[in-house]
Amino acid sequence: MALKHVNAVVVGAGAGGGIVAKELAEAGLSVVLLERGKWYSAFDCRKDDLRNQRTSVLGCGFGPDDERYRRVVVDAEGNERSVLPSEAAYSNNAACVGGGTFSYGAQAWRYMEKDFRMRSTYGAVEGSTLEDWPISYADLEPHYEKAEWEIGVSGDDSKNPFHAPRKKPLPMPPQPPGREHEILRPAAERLGLHPFDIPMLRNTVPFNGRPPCMRCRWCVGFACEVDAKNGTHNTVIPKALASGNCVLRAECVAKEILSDDRGRVTGVAYFDSQDRLHVQSADLVVVSCGATETARLLLNSRSKLFPDGLGNRSDWVGRNLQGHTYAGANGLFDYDVYDDLGPGASIAISDFNHGNPGLVGGGILCNEFIRLPYQFTSMTPTTLPHWGSAHKDFMRQAYRRCIAVQGPAQEMPVLEARVQVDPRVKDHWGIPVARLSGSNHPHTLEVARFLMSKSEAWLKEAGATATWPRPPHAGLSGGQHQAGTCRMGNDPKTSVVNRHCQVHDVDNLFVVDASVHVTNGGFNPVLTIMAVAYYASAHLVEEWRGTRFRS
């Protein structure tokens, strides 16, 4: 039986898709929001330290499952292997309503003005596709504000002299500082740095009808037991449904985007939870599956006009895969620094995002979220044995005495760091899986090592009796901060979407997620994803009210 035609299909109910669905629905468009994962809630909070979105050894807490999903990863030597979602190499984010926002640590950063103009600021970087965004911070500013007030951000950046200009303050105050914050703040000040509270998509006072954070130790990777963590699942998606114009179909896996021989999309073919194939026709399609799955969906949507995938005449779909390259340090103190007050991450400095001599960009430095015991087992100094009595003894005496500081080095995009589709391996539904290959640019590692040295210096100043580095990972990036695979740009030969997130060549197809990020800032990307979603939605609605995307 054919499904009723709608105005818009949004594929992916995450940070971007949730916002687009609501903006379109409230503007009067009929919307089908497809999500491959389930709709979890606070009742699904299990506090399972071995099966969550951060530590997934026994399976991903919030999708995807190991039974039906695979990816292929190709290492630096060209060896390829098939990986499960619960393995680190899969580079997972999430598969559920709310996407990553359901279980994230919720750091809520605006990028800085220079983050949108990396090429103009620093010049070309050899071997990198470093480029400016076609939009500026000023274009996104009102939309950052909208995200902060509608989704809900707490914090206070008045002590951060480097923050980009804002018109309105944040709607909620920061959390009271914990013990680590109190230890690190004076040390940062003595070093001439400018510490402040990390802005968070987390209630610190009752807001939006939900309570404030209860300071538990299970945050990043877990569902919030009291629903104080703000994501699209508990804000804009319920509003989209309440408008009466949007239906959410969860556990529905998109197979391909269908298009006609005039180069316009006509709808989305998808499998429902019983593995039955449906076609949802629509006037326009918005793809918000995250940088890996969005690229994969476009590449798997072939037609006569687009033999290499929808919107891929340039061969830039799937390229420039980025994330963040984290590096930092651990410090051991000779007294108890553990207060069991979550989320743990609390203090930041933005002194090293830009203007570092000899370096392109940089990143914030923050203290880390609470390390649960199993997580801490791999954070011991490499000068000590990693098993046996010495390791156990270190765990016992150091667990409550360690502070970890690290930051997301902004990556230099690389053309060969990419998502393709595998010629052989298919998932449960017979759809070719994503194939990940490439690696980081050498300069990214230089920036990361710089952040590592600054982390150690901060911990030493704070009185750590011993510090040891947490060096950057050299391979392919992606993971929870994945971005870049459908770059925004004015030139269709070197980009996939235009400044309005509209796919070049395909007027009624949009990509609204971190795939469009040209560069990914030296900050967690989610608030920028949300701002871009509001920005793109505004234009989409305006265009809809004009031409209704009729050709």
């Binding site: 506090k47 399972d48 330290d49 071995l50 050894v57 026994l58 399976g59 190991d66 030597e77 060209g78 060896n79 390829e80 292997r81 098939s82 619960s86 009271p176 109190e182 209860m214 300071r215 538990c216 130790r217 553990y338 207060d339 069991d340 007050l341 015991p373 199993y374 801490f376 087992t377 791999s378 990693h386 098993w387 046996g388 009595s389 390791h391 156990k392 003894d393 765990m395 016992r396 667990y399 409550r400």
Partner: protein, 206 residues
Amino acid sequence: MRYLRRITRRKFIQVTTAAAAGSMVGCTNKKSPWRFFTIEEGQTVAAICERIIPADQDPGATEAGVVNFIDLQLMGPYKRHRARYREGIRSVEQASLKMFGHRFTELGPEGQDEVLKELERVAAEETRKELERVAAAGETRKGQSKGQSSEDFFALILSHTMQGFYGDPRHGGNRGRVSWKMLGLPYPPIRGRLHYDLTKPGGGSE
């Protein structure tokens, strides 16, 4: 000869108690107390895990039920590691016989550590040589290494031991939350309360 262990009564009771905890059969006979491991495999695994996290003033892997964790997970999310465990346990026994002429469980702790460290060393060497060979032949190594490398097994059992010792008891290990008590983690966790008294300078203390 000094690597042979005198089996103390305490040790014997520890090991058999741990084994019986997973058993549905009251008395010992040839039937294994484990879901996946044979009796001998269970003993070897227990001995390996006990070297990874030994008992000292706090319980070690055996008392915490790490073998139960691994055995349980091998029936579920870790099904795919079953062959690797069977082969890995065999390789540990072979190394033990080769180095000391005795089974792994007959060695004392120093001997057992020697065997495990040797396996780690050899496997790292194998991996290095394999990468060199592949590079020299201009080949691409397809597919995951099938677990022949003993480092793969040791790295695997090491991470599983850490999970079974430091992870949540609901997964079959960390019996009685022994590791969390060792680390000084408060239980039950105090939530919903601000630990700092903001009317006092410095926030007062808990």
